[in-house]
């Protein structure tokens, strides 16, 4: 267990997220079928498969660049493979996390919290959603907040990530009763209430994967599983 975010940790995280998306692909699509257009699972799966492919294909040179560069590559890959609403939004998340992370080889918990906050602001800038609009923001914003609070209290990376995932889970669950005001689900009006938001669900998977894998210290060139 490391207490900093490294390329190795990032790679393990992204692989864990990809695996979780692949596993829950049908569930994500079912959630989207209920209030959207039944593609969120396949969109995210396509994108994360591309990301994993990219990670495996990084040359040692590229693999050696900073955390920020890696995050930006992930963001660009998502932007150009996911499409739909999730593509630009998750793309912005990673692109803006990458910008904030800068060129360092590893990040402290506080730096990581700053990067995640920047990423979530990026999602909001792109999608204009507020808390309570029944979108991924409902999972991402509380998660970023919990992470920053944990960092301020000096918690370890592992503990901070656990709290982050818990906050994301709360936020995700809280989307169920909401009436959607952004995204495709908003076309449903009142009928959108009673369903959990698919994007908030994938965002929880993202934070859950971080709690599981981001503090690990697997080398960045671990063979694809």
């Amino acid at each position: 267990m490391r207490d900093t975010v490294t390329q190795g940790g990032l790679t393990a995280w992204l692989r864990a997220f990809a695996a979780a998306v692949a596993r829950d692909r049908e569930e994500l699509t079912d959630l989207d079928a209920a209030i959207g257009d039944a593609d969120h699972g396949s969109n995210m799966d396509r994108g994360m498969q591309a990301v994993v492919g990219k990670l495996g294909g990084l040359s040692p040179d590229e693999a050696g660049v900073g955390v920020g560069a890696l995050l930006k590559t992930v963001g660009m890959t998502l932007v150009s493979t996911v499409g739909g609403a999730a593509g630009p939004l998750y793309g912005s998340l990673f692109l803006d996390m990458g910008k904030a992370a800068g060129e360092d080889a590893e990040l402290t918990v506080a730096q990581w919290a700053t990067a995640v906050e920047a990423g979530v602001r990026g999602v909001q800038a792109r999608g204009k959603a507020e808390l309570g609009d029944k979108t991924m923001i409902d999972a991402l914003a509380p998660a970023a907040e919990a992470l920053s609070a944990a960092a301020a209290c000096g918690l370890s990376l592992a503990d901070a990530l656990r709290r982050t995932a818990e906050a994301a889970a709360q936020g995700m669950k809280a989307t169920t009763p909401l009436v959607a005001r952004k995204g495709r689900a908003s076309y449903l009006g009142e009928r959108s209430a009673g369903h959990q938001d698919p994007g908030a669900t994938s965002s929880w998977l993202l934070m859950q994967a971080a709690a599981e894998a981001l503090a690990s210290d697997a080398p960045p060139d671990r063979p694809r599983t």
Binding site: D37, D39, T81, G84, P88, R184
Partner: protein, 333 residues
């Protein structure tokens, strides 16, 4: 799920290969990223029209690429808007020096992806305008939602603006014309059955044997209301009333009436629908000056239809009548 496809993930790719094989004389299909351009692109000095959206709505948009309509179409995955790099590359491929108009349907995903593409294109020095189509009256427009969806008016806007571009109208004017079409058009749809997204493998929603979904979106998004199955005249009256009241269209208006099939509904039923629509509008003093009847903007295999009305004036009528030569719409050439 029963479809004439191979692996669900490959459906869009193989469809595009089919388009390339079939229409190599008039279209060029580019892959990675995916886009379709007219064979003679870029047309020097002409505003280039680029549209796109998720696949599954064929012939929209790829079937509307050609003289008098689109210069390029960017097909995304099924029901998933294209990515910014698709739109950027398409814009670069068709830019004839007079700028590019992006015609975007109002869905969060489409709007964001085209927005990113526009930013990238502008960075590369291409003059870009975007027009967002939002003609679906089934969705309440409000500051607190994503607004109305873009549906049937898209087809009409692409045709009409394509004609203006052929006449070498400058970019701001073509964009203005596009906004005018959008401002004068309203639509609403109904589903008798759900569609089935290939990668999902099962219907997006379940409708009982005696139920219909009013105000359906073209992505199988549930509509605003589920009702008992009704005769065509009652369904058409519901749709037409909502459409007419919204603009509103009024006595003395002349309209283009577009009865669109959703993919699983045969032409026979669309003519029955048109017949009801014609009778209703006649009763309301609204004259049908032009019409379009067929499956032009589909939702995979969904059974159902949508009705779009566009208020015509001489300008719109002339552009509608102008020559068009695409695989999906063709006349005058």
């Amino acid at each position: 799920m029963k479809k004439l496809i191979n692996q669900p993930e490959d459906a869009v790719k193989e469809e595009l290969e089919g388009v390339a094989a079939a229409h190599g004389d008039r279209l060029r299909v580019h892959t990675a990223p995916n886009y379709i351009v007219r064979a003679d692109a870029p047309v020097h000095g002409k505003v280039a029209l680029v549209s796109g959206g998720g696949s599954g709505h064929e012939p929209m948009h790829g079937g509307f690429v050609g003289l008098g309509m689109l210069d390029a179409a960017c097909p995304g995955e099924v029901f998933t808007s294209p990515t910014p790099d698709q739109v950027l590359e398409a814009a670069k491929a068709v830019n004839g020096g007079a700028g590019v108009l992006l015609i975007v349907k109002n869905y969060s995903g489409d709007v964001m992806n085209f927005e990113m593409a526009a930013e990238l294109a502008e960075d590369e020095g291409i003059e870009v305008e975007q027009v967002v189509i939002d003609d679906d009256v089934a969705v309440k427009d409000s500051l607190y939602t994503a607004g109305r969806r873009g549906v049937g008016a898209t087809v009409l806007a692409e045709k009409i603006c394509g004609a203006a571009a052929e006449q070498r109208w400058p970019l701001p004017d073509v964009a203005g014309l596009c906004r005018k079409v959008n401002a004068n058009a309203r639509s609403m749809g109904v589903a008798l059955t759900s569609c089935t997204v290939p990668t999902a493998g099962k219907p997006t929603f379940e409708l009982a044997d005696d139920e219909i979904e009013l105000g359906i979106g073209i992505h199988g998004e549930p509509g605003r209301e589920r009702r008992k199955l009704a005769p065509a005249h009652a369904i058409v009256e519901t749709l037409a009333t909502a459409v007419v009241k919204d603009l509103p269209f009024g006595r003395g208006d002349e309209v283009l009436a577009f009865v669109n099939g959703m993919g699983g509904t045969p032409l026979m039923e669309l003519y029955v629908v048109y017949n009801e629509l014609h009778t209703l509008l006649e009763g309301w003093g609204i004259a049908i000056g032009r019409n379009l009847i067929g499956s032009y903007m589909t939702s995979l295999d969904m059974a159902g239809c949508s009705i779009t009305l566009l208020r015509l004036d001489d300008e719109l009528t002339a552009f509608w009548d102008a020559p068009v030569n695409t695989t999906g719409l063709r006349w005058g050439v």
